[in-house]
């Protein structure tokens, strides 16, 4: 009912297009990982670890394609994607809602080498090196790739040096088009190429980075590597002019963020053996 749709490429099983709020753009999403740098922690050979994000080279793709199962129904349409036995995702659109949910599941991360897993959303938007990240869920801060607002940056870490804290939202704009990815927890995020957003989901580093914790970042549960599950909510809309529901993209994002942060609570009770009429 809200013309919110996404397209899946039948050959690769990956997202290929998004249609929302009257806007329609090519958009692909994929999972990649950085191999964590392993060094002896002298000045320029720091390891990636609990305190330090330092990739060894550029990101590698988890899988160029995904096995898919598509479920359609009156309330929700969803695509179950399996990229590998440690990375899968459900992409869903609820009827009546104006966002696309990416319910990702990562882990146990196969280590050696240590891996720092990201999800990447790619569009043809012309963003001129700019992107916006929120500051603790409040105002949005302007970020420019390889630059700082108050001094000339000498880029020592081309990837980690462009990562910023994303407490709840990261945004790209191109003229009147606005693309926002809302997170359900604080994550690291950036835009290393125009039109692209990446967010870090889960990490397993094999080497302590010598800042005090004295152990590698290898979380575990039930005797195996930790499995992380979470959601991203994607909103595509008009930045200045209003969307079909009369709100700007920012207003829709704010509304959704509040509904997710203070989401309705679900409680369960016995019927005490009463029929519906008696119970009512």
């Amino acid at each position: 009912k809200t013309d919110t749709e996404f397209e899946i490429d039948q050959k690769t099983g990956l997202l290929s297009r998004v249609h929302m709020n009257g806007r329609d753009i090519p958009l692909t999403q994929s999972f990649l990982y950085y191999e964590g740098f392993v060094g002896n922690n002298s000045v320029d050979t720091r390891s990636s670890g609990a305190y330090i994000f330092r990739p060894n080279g550029t990101a590698k793709s988890v899988s160029p394609s995904a096995n898919i199962s598509i479920f359609k129904g009156a309330l929700v349409n969803e695509v179950h994607q399996v990229f590998d036995d440690w990375v899968s995702q459900i992409v869903r659109v609820y009827n009546e809602e104006r966002y696309i949910e990416f319910d990702w599941l990562v882990g146990p991360i196969p280590i050696v080498p240590g891996k720092e897993v990201i999800t990447s959303y790619t569009t043809p938007m012309k963003t001129n090196k700019l992107f916006y990240t929120d500051s603790n869920g409040r105002e949005m801060l302007r970020r420019e790739r390889n630059a700082r607002p108050t001094w000339d940056l000498d880029v020592q870490e081309p990837i980690a040096g462009n990562y910023y804290p994303v407490t709840s939202k990261i945004v790209l704009t191109d003229g009147d088009i606005e693309l926002a990815v809302l997170t359900d927890r604080a994550q690291g995020g950036t835009s290393l190429k125009d039109g692209e957003v990446e967010l870090m989901l889960h990490r397993a580093c094999l080497h302590d980075d010598a800042f005090g914790v004295g152990e590698a970042l290898l979380e575990e549960a039930f005797g195996r590597g930790l499995v992380a599950r979470g959601s991203h909510y994607l909103i595509l809309g008009n930045k200045n002019s209003s969307n079909p529901d009369g709100k700007t993209a920012a207003a829709q994002e704010r509304d959704l963020a509040q509904q997710k942060l203070l989401s309705a609570w679900t409680f369960l009770s016995e019927t005490e053996g009463l029929t519906f009429e008696q119970y009512k």
Binding site: Q10, K11, T12, G13, A50, Y51, S65, A66, N67, I68, S69, I70, F71, K72, G73, A74, L75, V76, E78, H80, V82, D85, S88, I90, Y94, E96, E97, L105, P108, F211, G212, V213, G214, E215, L218, E219, E220, A221, F222, G223, R224, V227, R229, Q258, Q259, L262, S263, A264, W265, T266, F267, L268, S269, E270, T271, E272, F276, Y279, K280
Partner: protein, 189 residues
């Protein structure tokens, strides 16, 4: 107050930068989880008491005399919905879902509950049957380490127009049909 203090103490401990940024040792992270879990359990006592007061107040206004065995209704929550696990919904043929809206304006919410049946009838406060959908739990979720659940499908329905700072209750009953969604397309790429 006493119950709430357990959570306040846990949050007090977790003002430490290690808790905020995840730079604590692994066994400390597990201890943080233990403290928070105890905090949630104690806070559940509060939400249970508060919600049963709201429900009783709401009910006493109605013409039916609201009678309940236990002095307070038991409102169970399911903290493991993130691994699609909920022993309460998996083990009952009928149960009541109460959805409380903490915002100061009406909202709607799609409720997803892990179940073991193949079709359910859901009736809202007005007695009408709601549209439901049952979708299989993704295989990768079924095999999450530590998940202990028989649920293989999720029951979905829309809790519409939840009143501000209020709740709606839904009467859910297992029925005999089978409406579990089959994948329209399954493709190994």
């Amino acid at each position: 107050r006493v119950d709430l203090n357990v959570m306040r103490e846990a949050m007090g401990v977790m003002q430490h930068h290690d808790a905020v940024s995840g730079t604590e040792k692994e066994h400390v992270a597990h201890d943080y989880a233990r403290l928070l879990t105890r905090g949630f359990d104690e806070c559940h006592i509060i939400t249970n008491a508060a919600l049963s007061q709201i429900v009783q107040k709401g009910a006493t206004k109605s013409e039916h005399n609201f009678h309940y065995e236990s002095d307070t209704m038991q409102f169970n929550s399911c903290p493991l919905l993130n691994v699609s696990q909920c022993s309460f919904t998996e083990s009952r043929n009928a149960f009541v879902v109460t959805v409380y809206n903490p915002l100061s304006r009406p909202v709607s919410k799609f409720v997803r509950l892990p179940v073991t049946g193949t079709s359910y009838s859901v009736r809202g406060p007005d007695g009408k049957r709601l549209q439901t959908q049952l979708i299989p739990v993704a295989p990768s979720i079924l095999k999450i380490p530590g998940r202990q659940s028989n649920a293989t499908v999720e029951l979905i329905f829309r809790a519409k127009d939840l009143p501000p700072l209020g709740f709606n209750s839904y009467y859910v009953e297992k029925t005999k049909k089978n409406i579990v969604s089959e994948p329209e397309i399954s493709r190994d790429t």
